[in-house]
């Protein structure tokens, strides 16, 4: 019999039967003994034990001028174990479901283009985290300046306490790096374990890769920009021209260009962002109504035109009021303007602020003639002195200009993301179209109710709304494409979100039909407001689809879960 540590022996109470044993066993199971029996002694002065494995995987010194730190991934060494993901999670103390690193797969038919694959099929795992881009989309997009690119290391850091949770960076980053935490109301992301690097330690992922596939290197910024501007980054990944990612993926065995992510061709409905749907639709409605109302007034319109301006102003206020609802920390909404130098979101916030002032002014001018008769004379005189009627047209004109710029900023926010469904005219035409359709429809409704002749406006609304519907419908033809994100968007609209798509076109068509009836002028004027309401509803649904059927840019992922 060999030596047995006495501590482990269970002392059983004498003569107490199975119940006594049970009690003793339960007590024993609650006793923690590992420390006293096995705790390790360590040399407190020594460098971290793991440093012997990662010493060669981190740079010896700081980057020079024109250089920065970058992840360097040896694809040949990455065997797909994903230890980097869990190590990052545990060594950074992340939330239970939070991960800052991800591993996707590229698959491809064999290629005889050099390398060792020798015509056999290709399976390549790709580990990815923040690429600490030269021109980070998150940083450029952030309205609160919650991102900083360290001037020395180039590490892109997120200031968690500065963030107000607008989640725009989750769209502006082409690599799905910033992760939003609902419970915290902010996003967080990989910081390349900057404090570890500063202390001469390796980032968690570098420490944990069994095959040393991830290292930190110093890269030349200009060279990185030149390379990524030519699109040289990784097959089947977002266009590297967007942000100039610094991560270097290297392989000696070669990677055929025809490889595709395991999730290529897969799309699922995205978050619809209801407050943003409301905000965009209502503010565009507002700008349209104020603009059409003003123009009609300049052309001699009456009560109906004034009403359109007031209605437009109110819609704008409502739209701006709901906007903060999508913030994780709405009490910090004022920070939205801080990033005006780089963020279209800040610019949008500022321009809608300007627009709000002028549109309120225009609405005041529109209202004054109707309330003046009830005012004491000195009040109306005072008002006339402070805001002379001569200013009315300039105020309206400025409201239109500010509104148009604000809507343009709104569109730029989404165009900036590089997502195909949001590119160029697909945002601009839609946003401008919404403003025009709803402006015309609203004005035809108010003028119609006021007893004026709204036929011309109704006809215009019918033409523009019809054209917009046709433009939106033209996207569906992309379902037959062989590849590309528009194909996926079209398939989402005809697949998982078919009821929404049907609703969009049905309500839109109903609106057009109603206004057509209003334009013909044969039936009571009720049809203009009815049509305008239907078109407004239709635009809400259009915007819902705009968010929920976009295909985000992303790194190659894993086989999707269905």
């Amino acid at each position: 019999m060999t030596a047995i540590a006495a501590k482990a022996e269970l002392q059983r109470p004498e003569g107490d039967g199975p119940a006594g044993l049970l009690r003793a066993l339960l007590d024993d199971s609650r006793e923690m003994t590992a420390v006293e029996r096995f705790a390790k002694l360590h040399d407190e002065g020594a460098p971290p034990a793991q440093s012997k494995y990662y010493r060669d995987l981190i740079p010896a010194g700081l980057p020079d001028q024109g250089e920065q730190y970058a992840f360097d991934v040896d694809l040949d060494a990455c065997s797909g174990c994903k230890a980097c993901v869990s190590a990052c999670h545990h060594l950074n103390g992340l939330e239970p479901t939070e991960t800052w690193r991800n591993v996707g797969q590229l698959y491809g038919e064999g290629s005889s283009l050099g390398g060792t694959s020798g015509g056999l099929p290709v399976l390549q795992h790709v580990t990815t985290a923040c690429h600490h881009c030269v021109d980070p989309g998150c940083l450029a997009g952030c309205p609160t300046n919650a991102y900083e690119k360290d001037p020395v290391t180039g590490i892109v850091r997120h200031l968690d306490d500065q963030c107000f949770g607008c989640q725009y960076c989750t769209m502006a980053c082409p690599y799905e790096v910033p992760q939003y935490s609902k419970s915290k109301g902010i996003v967080r992301k990989c910081d390349m374990c900057h404090g570890r690097l500063a202390a001469g330690e390796a980032p968690a992922c570098v420490q944990a890769c069994p095959n040393g596939a991830i290292r930190i290197t110093v890269v030349d910024v200009a060279e990185t920009v030149a390379r990524t501007d030519r699109g040289l980054f990784l097959p089947d990944s977002p266009p590297s021209q967007l942000t100039n990612p610094t991560t270097v993926y290297r392989t000696k065995r070669g990677l055929p260009t025809n490889v595709a992510g395991a999730d290529a061709g897969f799309a699922e409905p995205q978050h619809a962002h209801a407050p943003l749907v409301a905000m965009l639709t209502l503010t565009q409605f507002s700008v349209g109504a104020v603009a059409v109302g003003s123009v009609v007034r300049w052309l001699g319109g009456g009560v109906g035109a004034d009403a359109a301006i007031v209605l437009g102003m109110l819609a704008g206020q409502a739209g701006l009021a709901v906007a903060p609802l999508h913030l994780g920390r709405p009490h910090l909404a004022f920070r939205a303007v801080l990033g005006w130098r780089h963020s279209w979101l800040s610019r949008e916030a500022i321009m809608f602020g300007v627009y709000a002032a002028f549109s309120i002014g225009a609405a005041v001018f529109a209202t004054l003639p109707y309330v003046e008769p009830w005012m004491p004379e000195f009040v109306s005189k005072l008002i006339e002195k402070l805001v002379p009627v001569a200013l009315r047209t300039p105020v309206e004109a400025l409201a239109i200009v500010a509104g148009a710029v604000a809507v343009y900023c709104s569109a730029k926010i989404y165009i900036f993301t590089g997502r195909t469904f949001w590119l160029g005219s697909r945002s601009l035409l839609k946003f401008a179209g919404t403003a025009l359709v709803l402006g015309l429809a609203a004005a035809s409704a108010t003028i119609g109710i006021a007893g004026g002749s709204a036929s011309a406006l109704a006809w215009l609304a019918v033409i523009v709304a019809g054209a917009k519907l046709a433009y939106e419908a033209s996207l569906l033809a992309h379902r037959l494409d062989h590849e590309g994100d528009l194909r996926l968007t079209a398939r989402l609209q005809l697949g998982a979100l078919k009821p929404v798509t049907v609703a969009r076109f049905a309500v839109g068509a109903a609106g057009v039909a109603s206004l057509l009836i209003a334009g013909l002028g044969v039936l009571p004027p009720l049809f203009a407001p009815l049509g305008a309401t239907a078109l407004l509803a239709g635009e809400f649904v259009e915007r819902w689809l705009y968010f929920s059927t976009v295909v985000p840019l992303r790194m190659p992922g894993g086989m999707p879960t269905r």
């Binding site: 044993l21 923690m32 360590h42 103390g93 306490d161 404090g195 069994p210 894993g558």
Partner: protein, 752 residues
């Protein structure tokens, strides 16, 4: 911690002062509650920086409880309890690395479906919480009633390769010597039985001869039916550390991660293994590329074997395997030219109706070329579960302790003496293997079953049949960490068990290394370590007296050492847990103190084997066709296997970690070759029906050229997979052959 030099951009956050500071802070807040949540600071204990809120006050090391690699994890403790972990830097197995399962080992202990009290099936069919006393009394009364009516052998048990060795040993003694059971087997039947049988027949003892250092010393590495990168990522780490630029030859029908990393991938047709490896032997014989001296000194029956492989020509192998003759010739030459050739295999060989002979076809290659007992050589079985080896040697199921034989009177006498029990209490016949126990339910021979730490209703081949049979039992007891396992859901009584990290004991890894498991967490509710549950059962069964010596896991380890004395797996020098811990694990045999023996030891360095004549045997057999070849109605061959490194077996644990769940597809999928998909009208990522003659499932199609045309692959981790599999077995090891049955595909979604 060494001195910390600070860099720009790495300043420690400090609150801004004053009114201006507060104002500035509102506009640009660099610090605050949210920032502090992610602060890192030196963790001491040689750890480097750790999250500040998870800073330990002590650490201890223990082996991981998933696979047989046997990595050591450094547990970060606070007030005696585990709060985090990192892989142990110095451990000779994993050298500071771990796979995601290891990193996540603690989080799965917190799952909300942990069994916290015993659960008893009520009259209305629900599982309702009961006291331990009620549970134990019911279990005893029901099993004893069955025993009285049908004989004690009508109650059986199914155990596991996931318990600590001490628990397996106590369970084996309790059931067979105390409770009178005859039949008990482990889920190791599903993973390692083939390797164990092959070694026993060839070497005279179930003795994997290698040490992991061999991965680093080989110049030719054969990996057969092993996706090492995914199934054993840390062993792959050792291959990557090999400084000799080895030839890595991967034999696998699928283009796996490991195949990608190989210098040569041989995508042989499924079940052409024997033809292929016999052809290699054929060429070696033909060319005289053999180690004549080794053959003469250390082996038996070479000449007959050489005669036998004469018929297995490279042409025949090329025909069977689809690998060109020139490649086969070249592979044989690679073996010949290699100085240190190692042959490694795992489930592709083991879970195969010809598995034992295939394993031996590799052993034969090693023997005839003298590639055994030398650094970087060997015919090496890579084990599955963390303690499959413990189960093979000490579970007292199909073999008596320490590789003994129930039918051998001398062996029974030895065990009776060590345990101080009447020799008559030791059964004189072998236990039935797993599939005969299951079959015994059908015939009425088995009426009561105790399932410990395994998930038969998910993992057993031809699942529907297995489930139906389990439902026929008079009384089914399931002992598990989770009350939600498919098998627990069928149980009459569920016993709540403590998990890895909540109890003590040892695991034995692939390379025969004992490692210590420690108690670093409190089990939830009234869950008890399996060891304690067994002691409780003994007490209620009124045979507690028989197990006086088994007073604690460490005491049981002492018993095991005594049982091992003089056996090939002699542990008598290992000392106690602390000495194993301090030695960095200890490989058997170990007759000297653990701290004084070499950390990397291999067997058979003297060319002597465990057969009475000291020689290893060449063993062979004609190859046989698979019983259910694909045909017109079921045109595809279904392969099953490991999905991702973050998945483990039936997912009872890995399914409980939010991080691991992000690392593999949540729903079942089937890999289909694009050509087959085109023919069947199956779109990428669409839903398809996969049906065999036994069952049917719906899966997401994943079109990939990494499976060959005519074959489909479904990971084994999804519950539905085994609805399809065909119950057939290796006749020697009785291991189920999971990787060959015919299925058909049907597209369930058409193009938009």
């Amino acid at each position: 911690m060494s001195t910390v030099t600070k860099q720009p951009g790495a300043e420690s956050p400090s609150e801004k002062q004053g009114l201006l500071g507060q104002l500035l802070n509102i506009v640009h807040q660099k610090n605050g509650v949210l920032t502090r949540e992610l602060l890192r600071e030196p963790g001491r204990f040689g750890l480097g920086q750790v999250p500040s809120r998870l800073k330990p006050d002590a650490t201890t090391d223990m082996v991981c409880g998933y696979c047989s690699t046997g990595c050591s994890l450094r547990i970060h403790l606070k007030d005696g309890e585990a709060i985090n972990l990192t892989p142990t830097t110095e451990y000779p197995v994993n050298l500071g690395m771990a796979c995601p399962k290891g990193w996540e080992a603690l989080s799965v202990l917190d799952a909300d479906d942990r069994a916290t009290t015993p659960l008893l099936r009520t009259a209305t069919g629900d599982l309702a919480p009961v006291s331990w006393d009620r549970a134990m009394t019911t279990m005893r009364d029901r099993f004893q009633k069955i025993g009285r009516e049908h004989g004690p052998e009508s109650v059986a048990f199914l155990s596991t390769g996931q318990l600590v060795t001490e628990e397996m040993a106590l369970l084996g003694a309790l059931t067979k010597f105390g409770m009178g059971m005859v039949h008990g087997d482990g889920n190791t039947r599903q993973c390692m039985a083939t390797a164990a049988t092959a070694y026993k027949e060839s070497f005279g003892f179930d003795a994997p001869p290698f040490t992991y250092q061999d991965f680093e010393e080989s110049d030719v590495i054969f990996l057969v039916g092993s996706n090492l990168c995914v199934a054993h990522p840390i062993m792959w780490e050792r291959v990557c550390r090999n400084p000799h630029a080895p030839a890595i030859i991967v034999v696998d029908p699928r283009r796996t991660e490991t195949a990608m990393a190989a210098t040569l991938h041989l995508p042989i047709k499924p079940k052409s293994d024997l033809s292929f490896f016999y052809a290699l032997a054929h060429i070696l014989v033909r060319e005289g590329w053999i180690d004549r001296e080794y053959i003469e000194e250390s082996t038996d029956r070479y000449e007959e074997f050489a005669e036998f492989v004469h018929a297995y020509t490279p042409e025949r192998a090329a025909e069977a395997s689809g690998v060109p003759v020139e490649t086969i010739e070249q592979v044989a030459r690679t073996i010949h030219e290699g100085k240190r050739v190692s042959f490694w295999w795992t489930m592709g060989v083991n879970q195969n109706y010809e598995g034992t002979r295939i394993a031996q076809s590799l052993i034969n290659l090693a023997l005839m070329t003298g590639n055994l007992g030398r650094p970087g050589a060997g015919a090496n079985s890579i084990t599955g579960q963390c303690n499959a080896m413990g189960s093979r040697i000490f579970s007292n199921t199909t073999g008596l302790y320490a590789g003994r034989d129930f039918k051998n009177a001398e062996h029974r006498q030895e065990v009776a003496e060590v345990l101080d029990i009447p020799v008559e209490s030791i059964p004189t016949v072998d236990s039935w293997p797993y599939h005969q126990i299951i079959e015994g339910i059908r015939t009425g021979a088995i009426k009561g079953l105790w399932v410990i730490c395994t998930n038969t209703s998910h993992s057993w081949i031809h699942q529907e049949d297995a489930r139906e049979l389990l439902s026929k039992l008079d009384f089914l007891v399931v002992q598990d960490m989770y009350h939600t396992t498919e098998t627990a859901q069928q149980a009459d009584l569920v016993l709540p068990a403590a998990g890895w990290g909540e109890k003590e004991g040892t695991f034995i890894n692939s390379e025969r290394r004992f490692g210590v498991v420690k108690k670093v967490r409190r089990p939830p509710g009234e869950a008890l370590p399996d060891f304690s549950i067994f002691r409780l059962v003994a007490d209620y069964w009124d045979c507690g007296e028989m197990f006086q010596r088994w007073s604690s896991p460490e005491a049981a380890f002492g018993v095991m050492q005594d049982l091992s004395r003089g056996r090939p797996c002699d542990l008598t020098g290992m000392g106690d847990y602390a000495s194993i811990d301090h030695a960095g694990g200890a490989q058997w045999p170990c007759v000297e103190p653990a701290a004084e023996v070499d950390q990397q030891r291999r067997l058979f360095e003297d060319g002597r084997f465990y057969h009475e004549d000291g020689r290893a045997k060449f063993i062979w057999e004609e190859t046989r066709a698979m019983p259910e070849e694909p045909d017109k109605s079921y045109p595809y061959l279904l392969l099953t296997g490991r999905g991702a490194a973050s998945q483990w077996h039936t997912q009872t644990r890995t399914g409980k970690s939010a991080v691991l769940r992000k690392l593999y597809p949540q729903s079942i999928y089937v890999e289909v070759h694009p050509d087959d998909a085109r023919r069947e009208g199956i779109q990428q990522h669409s839903q398809v029906s996969v049906a065999s003659r036994r069952g049917k499932l719906t899966a997401t199609a994943f079109l990939t050229p990494t499976v060959q045309p005519g074959q489909v692959f479904i990971p084994m981790h999804y519950e539905a997979t085994n609805r399809l599999t065909l119950a057939h077995f290796d006749p020697y090891s009785h291991q189920p052959s999971y990787k060959d049955c015919a299925v058909k595909l049907e597209a369930l979604e058409s193009e938009l």
